[in-house]
């Protein structure tokens, strides 16, 4: 990031207030945020979910989603006040001078038209170029964004193109009219780490090349550190602090900003396997599985010992969740077997005994869908205790209270409530309590922290660790987040396309030499260092990251 000379102010937001409509009244969700952006400057907006990042991003285009409205303050874009402009005046800006790149490119491209058709829509609409010129320009942009087959890819439909490529095509589309400002709204959040890196590189290059100003919205500090000149931290619609990227990383002023760093500091000592010929709690042996004709698991084997955490790592489609489905018996394997304390489990859960079912429990990624919204908390937690141990009346109530205590929620407060009344972290805790109620020896944690904000996730990880120590539980920890793996795993299993690529104790897995895929995975995880992206690209070469990587 070279020092840039002071340029003229492009966007000036002052005391912006936005209200959202819920429960039949308007509630303020953004409480007076101000920001200035100069030409060619990139501002990172960072905050947890509900911080109002996207809402502010859209307000910079004078746009409010249905159920939201800008209730105060001013948004001045290049001398034009957007909050008082008419819809027609705003429309002229959108797409031509301010462009938007959405989080999910797959959902944000219209499935009925080809990429290039959508690309040329704005230039044609504003009569900036003729169709053939606009198409040629699109192909040139595709090439600059390092999309494969730039001459041809535009004539495909969105469903024919992969997620990382779509995200780059959307960036190209945003560039179509050479706007002064682009809003990037979490453009890489939905992507795998190895894909994320190539999209980041492409976005950074093109923004540099055209000297476009940008607002980069994300919840991931390490990502924003690569992209932004300065960073603004938001918390629940309030601004916390703003400073240049380097300043922010080295000397965060506010407590909250510091806590965002602290998140990744949780680490527990690594445990070794029990010696001798201890029988593993769960032993997956040469398991193959298929959905219909498509084979999804190929010769998967690993062991999980009592009291240990085995992290299963891989990108989407690597088969980690499928492995969990095989262990629980939801998807009977086509070959191989699963041993529980040395005994072979029946392949389907329907044929397992009540005790076998009780011993292995599961915690889910989305607490929203894992808890029945129409059942009270005490019933959700109480049912397994009642079902397996036959508890009832006062004994059942005592057990529920004990479980609520274990997960650090005040029993009297939560006993009679319904899941939708709780926050994400609290719901996840209830999910944990339901698993504990069965008194299991083994718990599968399926991406339990990935839907949560970092601080909350930290709390859940600490809780899981405490419970493991107290109850001697074995965890199978499915995740794509290597930071989480570093924090809690004893052993690591790396999966790719249904196969185990590499496995072993954590410390060995995190020290070179690695299997090339593990290497790619590890090197693709963004780090807090603002020069990380440049360094990686230098080391690996721009053409050897992500989908293009040679493994």
């Amino acid at each position: 990031m070279a020092e840039k000379p002071e340029k003229s102010v492009l966007l000036d937001i002052k005391d912006l207030r936005i209200e959202g409509y819920s429960d039949e009244k308007w509630i303020e969700i953004v409480h007076g945020v101000s920001l200035t952006l100069r030409r060619g400057e990139v501002l990172g907006l960072i905050g947890e979910s509900g911080a109002g990042k996207s809402t502010i991003g859209l307000a910079a285009m004078g746009y409010a989603r249905d159920g939201c409205r800008i209730s105060g303050g001013s948004v001045e874009f290049d001398g034009m006040e957007l909050t008082t402009s008419t819809e027609a005046e705003l429309r002229v800006l959108r797409g031509s001078r301010i462009a938007y790149v959405a989080q999910s490119a797959a959902a944000s491209f219209n499935p009925a038209h080809t990429l290039i058709e959508q690309h040329v829509e704005a230039p044609l609409h504003y009569r900036m170029r003729k169709r053939t010129e606009a198409q040629e320009d699109a192909m040139e942009l595709y090439e600059r964004l390092r999309l494969p087959n730039p001459q041809e890819i535009g004539f495909r439909y969105p469903h024919q193109v992969s997620g990382g490529q779509l995200q780059r095509a959307m960036t190209a589309m945003a560039m179509a009219c050479r706007p002064d400002l682009i809003i990037f709204d979490e453009p890489t959040t939905a992507l795998d780490v190895t894909t994320q890196i190539e999209v980041l590189a492409a976005i950074r290059d093109i923004v540099d090349q055209f000297d476009t100003a940008a607002i980069y919205i994300t919840h991931d500090l390490a990502v924003v550190a690569q992209m932004a000149d300065k960073i603004k931290v938001l918390l629940k619609g309030d601004e916390v602090e703003e400073s240049s990227t380097i300043e922010m990383l080295e000397h965060p002023k506010e407590e909250y900003t510091r806590s965002l760093w602290a998140v990744r500091s949780f680490k527990r000592p690594q445990k070794a396997r029990p010696g001798g010929d201890a029988v593993p709690v769960v032993s997956v042996q040469h398991v193959d599985a298929a959905y219909g004709q498509t084979k999804v698991l190929d010769d998967v084997s690993f062991d999980i010992h009592a009291g240990m955490t085995v992290a299963v790592v891989g990108e989407s489609g690597s088969g980690k969740s499928t492995t969990a489905r095989c262990i629980t018996g939801l998807l009977p394997p086509t070959a191989g077997k699963i041993l529980f304390n040395g005994e072979e489990l029946p392949p389907s859960y329907r044929n397992r005994t009540k005790d076998q079912l009780r011993q292995a429990q599961m915690i889910y990624q989305m607490a929203d869908t894992a808890l029945n919204p129409k059942v009270k908390i005490h019933e959700i937690i109480g049912r397994p205790a009642q079902f397996y141990s036959g508890l009832s009346g006062a004994a059942l109530k005592a057990r529920v209270d004990e479980l609520l205590d274990l997960i650090e929620l005040e029993p009297s407060q939560y006993y009679n409530r319904y899941p939708p009344e709780l926050s994400g972290g609290q719901k996840q805790r209830i999910g944990i309590a339901r698993a504990l109620a069965a008194d299991p020896t083994f718990i599968i944690c399926d991406e339990v922290t990935s839907a949560l904000d970092q601080l909350v996730a930290e709390g859940i990880l600490k809780l899981l660790d405490k419970l493991q120590r107290e109850l001697d539980l074995a965890y199978m920890f499915i995740t794509h987040d290597l930071a989480t793996v570093r924090a809690i795993a004893d052993e690591v299993v790396v999966m790719r396309r249904g196969k185990v690529v590499e496995q072993g104790p954590k410390d060995e897995m995190f020290t070179p030499p690695h299997h090339p895929y593990t290497d790619l995975l590890l090197s693709s995880v963004p780090e807090m260092d603002p020069n990380w992206l440049s360094t990686v690209l230098e080391e690996r070469g721009v053409d050897n990251v992500g989908e293009a990587a040679n493994i």
């Binding site: 629980t328 018996g329 939801l330 009540k354 429990q361 599961m362 894992a370 029945n372 129409k374 059942v375």
Partner: protein, 353 residues
């Protein structure tokens, strides 16, 4: 030109100007387009057409007032949660609830309200309305008003029975298919497809031609024809719930299918199922009314709205509105139920977002 016509246009134009002045764009557009329509209608239909419009507007205002008052009444007598939900009800839904309430009273207390028996011949055929007969007499000299009141009991009661039967068969099968899955689901789905690919009125006519028209047969036939609709909806709603993680958790716990249906699926599908019940009732009600109109439904001398339309149809060519009254009674109830269902669907869709 007379004072009425002048007053009529003066009022409309004045109100339009007021709306425009106060910036109520949509109200202005509505009033002014009504003015323009009135010009056309007035030229074609003369003063009487304008009177009709005035009467319609009056009736509309009256029903809006009734609906508003009824909603306030319901809000006041119901508990806090229900009251909160009711407050969001649009006037159409409140009007629907009021109509349903009125019909229920009519049906339940028919013998008390009706001045004459449903099959009692009290005057000459097609006698005009007088002091004892509010709406005149029908083709046999029976009191039209009493027969309408009794019709609420007979027609609506029958439709309600058929709907309940269809609903329970369909919903149970749908829940079972969603939880069990596999072959059972496939087979039931195919059967539903086959039944639904025969148009309902035609299917009913075919079956009635064979089994004859008696009430129990009628109820069963209508229930069989409409249960696949309920089946499909329940299957779809339950299908969305069955893929939830909490169902998986319950399955992995070893819970049986009945527990899943009762404790996990049903509590989450009540809203769409109630709305579907309302829709289903409308379909069944219209089918039964149609069959009766064709002379193949409820048989005389039982008072029934569908057959009353047919029996008095000849009067229409003399410009009498008598046959329109039972037909209107049918339409009013279906409209009312649809208004309420529309609101409920809107609510359940709104809550999802």
């Amino acid at each position: 030109m007379n004072y009425f016509v002048i007053g009529y246009y003066a009022l409309l134009i004045g109100a339009s100007c007021l709306a425009a002045f106060y910036g109520r764009r949509s109200i202005f557009m509505l009033l002014f387009s009504l003015t323009l329509v009135s010009f056309v209608v007035g030229i074609v239909g003369g003063e009487s057409a304008l009177w009709t419009i005035t009467l319609c507007a009056g009736a509309l205002a009256l029903s809006a007032g009734t609906a508003y008052a009824f909603r306030e009444f319901l809000v006041n007598i119901s508990g806090r949660e229900t009251a909160k939900a009711l407050k969001t009800a649009p006037l159409t839904a409140a009007f629907g609830m009021f109509v349903i309430f009125t019909y229920a009273v009519m049906g339940i207390f028919a013998p008390v309200i009706a001045p004459h028996g449903e099959a009692e011949v009290i005057s000459s055929a097609f006698a005009p309305p007088d002091d004892t007969m509010l709406l005149g007499a029908d083709q046999l000299g029976r009191d039209m008003f009493s027969r309408i009141i009794y019709g609420a009991r007979n027609t609506v009661g029958l439709a309600l029975c058929a709907t309940l039967l269809a609903f329970f068969m369909g919903a149970f099968a749908g829940l079972l298919a969603a939880t069990k899955g596999g072959n059972l689901d496939q087979v039931m789905g195919r059967i539903a497809d086959v039944i639904m690919s025969i148009p309902s009125l035609i299917f009913a006519l075919l079956l009635l031609s064979i089994f004859g028209t008696n009430l129990i047969v009628l109820v069963i036939i209508v229930a069989i024809i409409y249960s696949p609709r309920v089946f499909r909806l329940t299957r779809a709603v339950a299908g969305n719930i069955v893929v939830m993680d909490y169902i998986e958790a319950a399955r992995l716990r070893g819970e049986g299918d009945l527990y899943l249906i009762r404790k996990e699926i049903l509590p989450n599908s009540t809203a769409p199922l109630i709305a579907e019940f309302g829709l289903e009732f409308c379909f069944v009600f219209l089918l039964i009314a149609g069959l009766s109109f064709l002379g193949l439904g409820i048989q005389p001398p039982t008072a029934d709205w569908g057959s009353m339309v047919r029996e008095n149809a000849t009067l229409i060519s003399f410009g009498e509105i008598t046959p329109l009254i039972p037909a209107g009674a049918i339409a009013l109830l279906t409209v009312a139920v649809n208004f309420v269902v529309d609101w409920m669907l809107w609510r359940s869709a709104g809550l999802k977002e």
